[in-house]
């Protein structure tokens, strides 16, 4: 089978999976739906491997394969095919997305086993994987926008999966609305590019861009900034990030898949894919790098103070994606994508382990109520440690190599990028601190009630089920989480998935040992060969110094966290009291929600109320509707007055009419 066939199969399997699951919902009992969904994504992953194999057997110049099924839209000025672009970048993304998705599907077969919406969950999850694969395989801007939009829709469906929870539906709406803002940016940027270049096909655009645009052309800069708006909204960068913490209302596998490994990396992918355009617009590149750096610092500071377990990991995601955005905006593509891959592994692992802990806590998510799970949940604890070490950038785990690759790339660019370099290490320190804060608070210390019951061999069951966010009472029917919770220690699928990711998080670093293996850079070269910053000669001294600094920073962070939370337990309270202003700023998430509410939400709501009250009520209801009604009524009353019921009047009318008619004929003859 050819590369193109494998490419289309990658898309076909998840689509078939979702349709099948949707149609067969009534007859699928037990865990069948989960296995079907997992199988669909596994087949997609295998097709991706097949495509990789076939692609690598081609000579390097011809590793950008475009395959088109049929003409999607052909009008004046627009010729859009339903086409996919298979090149190293898209294969890379396919393998990450499909691979991590397979493991998450496997995990979910056990995690959500007692949920009434089991089949629906897997249908939605397959739909999401299909949309994400469409996005990364898109061969032209139209298909890209379609995939982008579908991913947003899938995210909405999955965040508000437990749809009877008010908090979940509100979070889903918030995510969708902010994503739509990004969609608008993406579409407008695409239109600008289409107008200038004259084509939506990606390969054509990349070839023509240097001829059409001169460097820092205003239109191109605006177009790239608009594309970046889309990227930032999807990847939860400032100021479009407020949806990501709320998106933790979704089930944990959703957080693992969408909001850690795949959807939020779509922005990184977009910038990497459109790099020929970004390289001609250095202004946009600089904006992206700065936004990435700012996000990583801000998110890390918030992560230091939040108490919800999943939200700590969410802010950590935001921060790490800041690293990636910083990297691909500045032109350091290989490192950015490498970090994307390793981050997918360890972040999904962390989320899965967090799901296990939440299962043990019977749905409770607050760190304040957790403690002492170390001895009773060894597998989960081990996965947390592995993921945490990778996240903090400790050698030899994968996160170390990828993060240092990025920061080396910043340093090698020189100039004002040194500020970003320093910011990166500050962020790394904070990352280590909050990661191990989370681990130490959840697993060390005094055993909480749930841990004790687990120690006695019984999984804690809550007497009444409550919303972990606002504490309202819920039942366990459809639209709510099921009554039973599952932990990794007792569900083999969960343990297997987590174990696989733990292994990957540990060893994936060897793929890109600088100048020793360099596999990833070499693999991606056909895509990025036109970039001046790709695969430059490596300054070894700088690299080694960077790696040493990175390791020291990471270990220092862990040590700091150990000191504050284990060695001297009251220290965090003292720090909180001392820096109470800062603490308030961080725990209110830098007041972004409040600012956005004041600047955007309130005016829009006021405008909406104004339009409803005044324009709609007066002009439309009063003027158009009632106006036309009253016109009809008045005119019909006027006509009705002719019907007096008086015979003589009718007779008179007949005579008058006759005489006029005769007059007319007389005059005409």
């Amino acid at each position: 089978m050819s590369v193109q066939t494998y490419g289309w199969l990658v898309l076909a399997f998840p689509l078939a999976g979702t349709i099948l699951l949707g149609l067969l919902r009534p007859v699928l009992s037990g865990r069948k739906a989960g296995y079907i969904g997992t199988l669909a994504i596994l087949l997609s992953f295998l097709s991706g491997l097949g495509a990789l194999n076939k692609l690598q057997s081609r000579p390097e110049e011809s590793r950008q394969v475009v395959s088109s099924l049929w003409t999607y839209a052909k009008t004046a000025g627009l010729d859009a095919q339903l086409s996919i672009l298979i090149d190293p970048l898209s294969i890379f993304m396919i393998l990450i997305v499909a691979g991590v998705s397979t493991l998450i599907h496997l995990y979910s077969t056990a995690y959500l086993a007692s949920d009434e919406g089991y089949v629906r969950f897997f249908a939605y999850l397959n739909f999401f994987v299909f949309s994400m694969l469409t996005l990364v395989l898109a061969g032209n801007l139209i298909v890209l926008i379609v995939g982008w939009g579908l991913v947003g829709a899938a995210s909405y469906l999955l965040i508000s999966f437990w749809y009877r929870r008010n908090t979940a539906t509100k979070a889903g709406l918030k995510a969708f609305v902010i994503n739509v803002v990004g969609d608008v940016g993406l579409v407008l940027g695409s239109i600008l590019i289409l107008k200038q270049v004259g084509s939506v096909d990606l390969v054509t655009i990349f070839h023509k861009a240097p001829e059409v645009f001169h460097s820092n052309d205003t239109t191109l800069v605006i177009g790239c900034l608009l594309l970046m708006v889309g990227a930032f909204a999807k990847s939860a960068q400032i100021p479009f990030h407020t949806w990501l913490p709320d998106a933790m209302e979704g089930p944990t596998p959703v957080s693992a898949l969408i909001h850690a490994a795949t959807m939020v990396t779509a922005g990184v992918y977009l910038i990497a894919r459109m790099h020929p355009l970004f390289q001609l617009a250095p202004t946009a590149q600089n904006v992206g790098a700065i936004v990435g750096a700012v996000t990583l610092i801000v998110a890390a500071t918030i992560g230091l103070v939040v108490t919800d377990l999943k939200r700590v990991i969410a802010y950590s995601t935001m921060s790490q994606i800041g690293y990636m955005i910083m990297a691909v905006s500045a032109g350091v593509y290989g490192a950015g994508l490498f970090h994307l891959m390793t981050h997918a592994f360890f972040k999904a692992l962390l989320f899965m382990a967090a799901g296990s802990v939440i299962g043990a806590m019977a749905g409770e998510q607050s760190l304040n109520k957790m403690g002492g799970f170390r001895k009773v949940m060894p597998i989960t604890y081990g996965c947390f440690i592995v993921g945490g070490l990778a996240l903090s950038g400790i050698p030899p785990f994968s996160g170390f190599f990828s993060k240092d690759d990025i920061l080396y790339g910043m340093a090698s660019l020189g100039g004002w990028h040194w500020i970003l370099y320093v910011a990166g290490y500050v962020g790394a320190l904070m990352t280590a601190v909050y990661t191990f804060r989370m681990i130490f608070r959840a697993f060390h210390g005094e055993q909480c009630e749930e841990a004790q019951s687990l120690a006695n061999g019984r999984l804690f069951h809550a007497a009444e089920h409550r919303n972990p966010g606002d504490g309202t009472l819920e039942d366990t029917g459809v639209g709510f989480p099921g009554a039973k919770h599952h932990i990794a220690e007792s569900s083999p699928p969960m343990a297997i998935a987590m174990g696989a990711l733990a292994v990957l998080a540990t060893v994936a670093g060897v793929i890109q040992l600088p100048h020793i293996t360099d596999t990833l850079d070499k693999f991606l070269e056909p895509t990025f060969s036109d970039s001046p910053t790709f695969m430059k000669a490596i300054d070894y001294n700088l690299l080694v110094i960077g790696m040493i600094i990175g390791a020291i920073v990471g270990l220092a962070g862990i040590a700091l966290a150990w000191y504050i939370w284990i060695k001297k337990p009251g220290t965090s309270a003292k720090i909180q009291a001392r820096f109470s202003g800062l603490h308030r700023l961080f725990s209110n998430k830098w007041y972004f929600d409040e600012i956005i509410n004041a600047i955007i939400v309130r005016p829009f709501a006021a405008a909406g109320r104004f339009f409803q009250g005044t324009v709609e009520r007066v002009a439309i209801d009063g003027g158009v509707t009632a106006g036309s009604v009253s016109i009809a009524r008045v005119s019909s009353a006027a006509v009705r007055s002719w019907q007096s019921g008086m015979l003589r009047a009718y007779a008179a009318a007949v005579v008058v009419g006759t005489s006029l008619l005769v007059l007319y004929f007389l005059l005409n003859s």
Binding site: Q643, G645, R648, A649, A652, V655, V656, T658, S659, V662, L663, F665, L666, S669
Partner: protein, 209 residues
């Protein structure tokens, strides 16, 4: 000679017509119409329509008008004078009636038909005789003849059906009141006024409503 007869008959017909509308008592109006009809019969004779003149006198004046007399005697009713109509009708009527008359005169006289100014085409002595009319009726105009008789039948039956008593006779002279016939109309029927709420649904409104 003919001119004299013509003028007398014409003036008589017009006078009878004016009498119909000017006289207050409808009985006198009927009698005036009878006179009008007789003058009209004279005019028909002048126009060599003998059979028609005869049937006009016998059928119309002798039959239809007698029927009229009976009904007027039964129903009666007075009539106000000619000049006392409602405001706008008062102005409108003479104007448009006059206009209509003038138009018709202009139409007929000014129509360019050369024969208007003559006495008419040359005709045979049997023109208008019963023989000729009978021949026309039973050969060329057989179908209208038969349909006309059917029409007469329908009218007769209809008139009987309309005017009959509905509930039998009463002993003595107790007058029939409105509502003697089950008069509540079925649901969903009624006049426009009742539907618009101008008049309450009382079946046949009359008497004290």
């Amino acid at each position: 000679m003919t001119q004299l007869v013509f003028f007398i008959a014409a003036i008589g017909a017009i006078a009878g017509a004016i009498g119909v509308i000017a006289l207050r008592n409808p009985f006198y109006g009927v009698l005036s119409l009878v006179g009008h009809l007789l003058c009209l019969a004279a005019l028909f004779l002048l126009l060599r329509a003998e059979f028609l003149a005869a049937s006009q006198v016998i059928v119309y004046a002798g039959g239809v008008m007698v029927l009229y007399v009976f009904v007027v005697a039964y129903v009666g009713g007075t009539e106000e004078s000619l000049g006392a109509s409602r405001g706008w009708l008062r102005v409108l009527t003479p104007i448009f009636a006059g206009v209509l008359m003038i138009e018709l005169v202009i139409a007929s006289l000014g129509s360019g038909l050369k024969a208007i100014t003559t006495k008419g085409a040359d005709i045979s002595p049997t023109f208008g005789s019963p023989a000729e009319i009978g021949q026309a009726l039973l050969t060329r105009f057989l179908f209208p003849f038969e349909v006309a008789s059917l029409l007469l039948l329908v009218a007769a039956v209809g008139a009987v059906g309309l005017a009959r008593r509905r509930d039998g006779y009463t002993v003595g002279s107790i007058p029939l009141k409105a509502g003697a016939i089950p008069s509540v109309p079925p649901k969903g029927t009624g006049t426009m006024a009742e539907a618009a709420g101008d008049k309450p649904m009382t079946g046949l409104s009359g008497g004290d409503s």
